[in-house]
């Protein structure tokens, strides 16, 4: 495919760089109909994918190049506007509140959280693009530096510099160009607030993810049982445990035990814990991983026989969420 055939360039980033989508287009020799930048904090990437989907579904475009990039010192690392967080502005504080709530309410243990980090680092060890490819043990997670109670250093992802890109084509165009296309079959997205204050009144799961998941399952005509492989927003280990529940893989409160069983292949690229978190690029990396898995192109980390995959991407303590379901049929 030549650059001249690309109708839209969508740039996902929390950076404030001016006119960045148009600059990317020029640097790549593309003269798109539409060039735009999307910023939605940590779920910018999947928000950009939805924008591309909308442009193609409306008939305005036949193809969209969706690029995410972030530098480690991105302004997206905190949300200065949110005065409801007081001096506890860093994401670790809301993650700690979620973790304490889960431990108190459901008996989830620090070891179960550690197992999420161990699994995702193991997966990352098979991903040449992951930042943290060294395997770790539960003991190492438990012995890593205490940041809060109960979160240790290895329960937390790291901001990093990174980039990712996908090419989204119309169904007609993909049937001519791609041998085994992967389809976007379901989309759900929900924003309940920007401030953490609305989340604080109910820490029992992520309300936005539950709504977005239902919409995505309905659109794709799938249920949680149909999901073979999933990329989950594991910015902190507790978030993956909560995602199991919000997505309906298990009943509320059973997420901790689910990680011990590992019934669905999750975060096969290493997740955010294994790959690092280049904010605006993360959601696009997640979509790229599920696409690779469903195409059979995931190399050493290929999940055999997977047909349906899911992407779960959150922002700012779960104030907004995107769920995308992909499939090969």
């Amino acid at each position: 495919m030549s650059p001249t055939e690309i109708d839209a360039v969508i740039f996902s980033s929390c950076s404030s760089d001016q006119y960045s989508a148009s600059i990317i287009a020029e640097m790549l020799g593309i003269k798109p109909k539409i060039a735009q930048r999307i910023d939605n904090l940590c779920n910018s990437g999947t928000t950009a994918v939805i924008s591309g989907y909308g442009l193609i579904a409306s008939g305005l475009c036949k193809s969209a190049l969706i690029v995410g990039a972030e530098s480690r010192n991105s302004p997206g690392r905190t949300l200065g506007w949110d005065v409801t967080r007081g001096s506890f502005a860093l994401p670790i504080y809301w993650a700690t509140m979620y973790a304490r709530n889960h431990m108190r309410t459901y008996g989830t243990t620090e070891e179960q959280m550690a197992m999420v980090a161990v699994k995702n680092r193991k997966n990352a060890s098979k991903n040449p693009n992951a930042l943290y490819r060294k395997r770790i043990t539960v003991d190492e997670v438990m012995a890593s530096k205490r940041i809060t109670y109960p979160l240790k250093l290895l329960d937390c992802s790291s901001l990093c510099t990174g980039a990712s890109a996908i090419l989204l084509l119309s169904e007609v165009m993909s049937s001519r160009r791609v041998e085994n296309p992967v389809y976007v079959t379901g989309i759900g997205a929900q924003t309940n607030s920007a401030s953490l204050s609305k989340v604080m009144s109910d820490m029992n799961g992520t309300g936005t993810a539950k709504i977005a998941a239902k919409d995505a399952y309905d659109m794709a005509k799938k249920t949680p049982k149909d999901i073979d492989v999933a990329e989950l927003h594991d910015a902190f280990s507790i978030m993956e445990i909560m995602a199991y529940e919000d997505l309906g893989f298990v009943d509320r409160g059973m997420g901790g035990r689910f990680v011990e069983k590992g019934m669905v292949a999750t975060n096969t690229r290493g997740g955010i814990l294994g790959c690092g978190h280049p904010l605006g690029a993360t959601g696009i990396s997640q979509v790229a991983e599920i696409t690779a898995q469903l195409s059979g192109d995931a190399g050493r980390r290929q999940v055999k026989g997977c047909k349906t995959g899911l992407v779960h991407n959150l922002s700012a303590g779960g104030t907004s969420a995107t769920i995308i379901i992909l499939g090969v049929d």
């Binding site: 001096s87 109670y149 604080m200």
Partner: protein, 103 residues
Amino acid sequence: MKGDFRVPFCRTCRDRVWPPFERCPTCLSKTIFKRISRMGILLEFSTSFISGHAQDFGIVDLEGVHLLGSVQGNNIFLGCTVVMYDCGVDENIRPFYKFRTGT
């Protein structure tokens, strides 16, 4: 800078507006800042070691206003009554809210 904790209320429908804004999200009328009770309920709490020493913090409900603040006291438990004894804006222009247990 030492603060005075006030919350905006809608001049028309009297709704409390939190996070603060000069207009009411329901009817778009102007808001006016008023003092509310500094006594609240601790909804969740834990301990941070980021500053190099143990610091308790948590989610406080002040008459429906939810915020994150530091918590001091010997007997901190879920649902305990806490009082905002200090608030203000720090050198990074971040607001801070400090609570202690008791009434």
